[in-house]
Amino acid sequence: MTVLIGTEGLHLAYGGQSVLRDVNLTLARGEIVTIVGPNGSGKSSLLRALIGALAPAQGRITRAPGLRIGYVPQNLAIDATLPLTVARFLGLPRRISAVRAEEVLTGAGVPGLADRQMSALSGGQFQRVLLARALLDMPDLLILDEPTQGLDQPGSAAFYQQIETVRQRTGCGVLMVSHDLHVVMAASDRVLCVNGHICCEGTPDIVASAPEYRALFGTGTRGALALYRHEHGHSHGPKGDHAHDHEHDHDHDHQHETTGA
């Protein structure tokens, strides 16, 4: 097993505020590892540290010599004032030939888009163009930050299928952050559950039955349906919004919950 990237005692902070501590992880070639965790748990920070965009506060990151990373960012808002064709986007920062552009677009499942404006793409097409760009340099490691954000169920299922295809074809390692718990469990070799630190990790089975995981994502039977329900249950996190909303209205009288506005 070739280890592509690893961390030792990694500690990340933003403006003095610790976001993630004691991260020890390794990722090998051909592996698909998914990071799950609530919002603000440090998932994106971890990915940004791995690509070198965020310097570790402590600990270290080791990369295999000559490691090529393909990165799909969490969200890429292209300003409306910036005209950009798909081909030109793929050619940033290094220009590529039209043939090569078509090749990677096909590899990402969206052939024939090269001359379209980035702003004219659908959500699914946009994400796949981002994937195509990440695949350009024949990466050893693909890092994706919530790549199916904004896609519907079939769209994200198809997207993960594509990732799987890419992995099989190129043998690259894949590290991604995802909220699509039901898909994650099916598509990953290993899952890291993160909330300020790594709460638990292992195969999807092990993680899904771990108490730490259940504490974060709720209890219930394992399996796709249960996990699917959890995905829609963001509000029952530790600081649910509801308690907050109702505080002002219902100080005195709890019974009138339904008669209010």
Binding site: P83, L92, Q117
Partner: protein, 262 residues
């Protein structure tokens, strides 16, 4: 011979437009319009510094513009609301500059000239400074074009591609400061930002690629400079504001055309 000052003015306008237009594209792509405003308003403070220390005006303005731009970059990185911050800095710099100029003893300054420019009074030496600056800015942009574009699109993507977004930001900051320093004579501190933003914004509907937009912006900027010069001569209006007004008309036209097409 009588046209001499007109030719110098035309060359000065063209030089500034050439540098400002493609740089202006980055200013609007990165949503730095207010950043440009703040930096160019600080130019008046630079004028005061130059007058107080016998520096050439270009040097004083460049120095203050760089300082201002770096200060803004540093502050916005620390989570201070940049909209409010830029608003404060832009106007504070202008006000401070005006106060500072008035405090310098024994200097009678044509303040209006620095505020709205005095393109008809451009000398041979000014022309040399303007074209040196413009060439430098264009060179910087041409050299770093792809990296700048990648960093503009997404700092993280640029980082993953092995670039340093911070360095690209610095390149833009430097280019912006040079542009402010050479443009103050032509359009004045109040309207430098207009020369950056308006041609680029006017070029947007005409372009399908970033390069196309920069080229169109250069064309619109250059045409506005020359056209504004001619119109201001005919109508006897201040030249800098006339150039900017003309660019604004082009902006309205290209927007109108693109709106009609949809």
């Amino acid at each position: 011979m009588t046209d001499d000052f007109m030719i110098r003015a035309a060359l000065a306008g063209l030089g500034v437009a050439l540098a400002a237009a493609p740089l202006g594209c980055f200013v609007i792509w990165r949503r730095m319009a207010y950043f440009g405003d703040a930096t160019s308003h600080a130019a008046i403070l630079g004028v005061a510094l130059a007058l107080a220390t016998d520096l050439p005006v270009f040097g004083g303005v460049l120095l203050v513009a760089v300082a201002m731009a770096l200060l803004l970059t540093g502050l916005t990185g620390r989570g201070i609301s940049s909209d409010a911050l830029l608003g404060v800095m832009a106007h504070a710099a202008l006000a401070l500059g005006l106060v500072a100029v008035s405090l310098i003893p024994d200097v009678r300054v044509d303040l209006m000239g620095y505020l709205v420019g005095d393109i008809l009074a451009v000398s041979q030496a000014d022309l040399a400074v303007i074209w040196t600056g413009a060439t430098l800015v264009l060179g910087l942009l041409f050299w770093r074009w792809s990296s700048l574009l990648a960093a503009t699109l997404s700092p993280d993507l640029a980082q993953a591609a092995g670039l340093s977004p911070k360095r690209e930001e610095l390149v833009l900051t430097l280019a912006l400061s040079i542009t402010v320093a050479v443009a103050i004579k032509v359009v004045g501190a109040l309207l430098i930002a207009a020369l950056l933003i308006i041609p680029a914004a006017a070029a947007r509907p005409l372009a399908r690629t970033p390069e196309g937009m920069a080229a169109a912006a250069i064309f619109i900027g250059g045409a506005s400079a020359l056209g504004g010069l001619i119109v201001s001569f005919a109508l006897d209006t201040p030249t800098g504001p006339t150039i900017v007004s003309l660019a604004a008309v082009v902006f309205a036209l290209t927007r109108g055309v693109s709106a009609a097409r949809v």
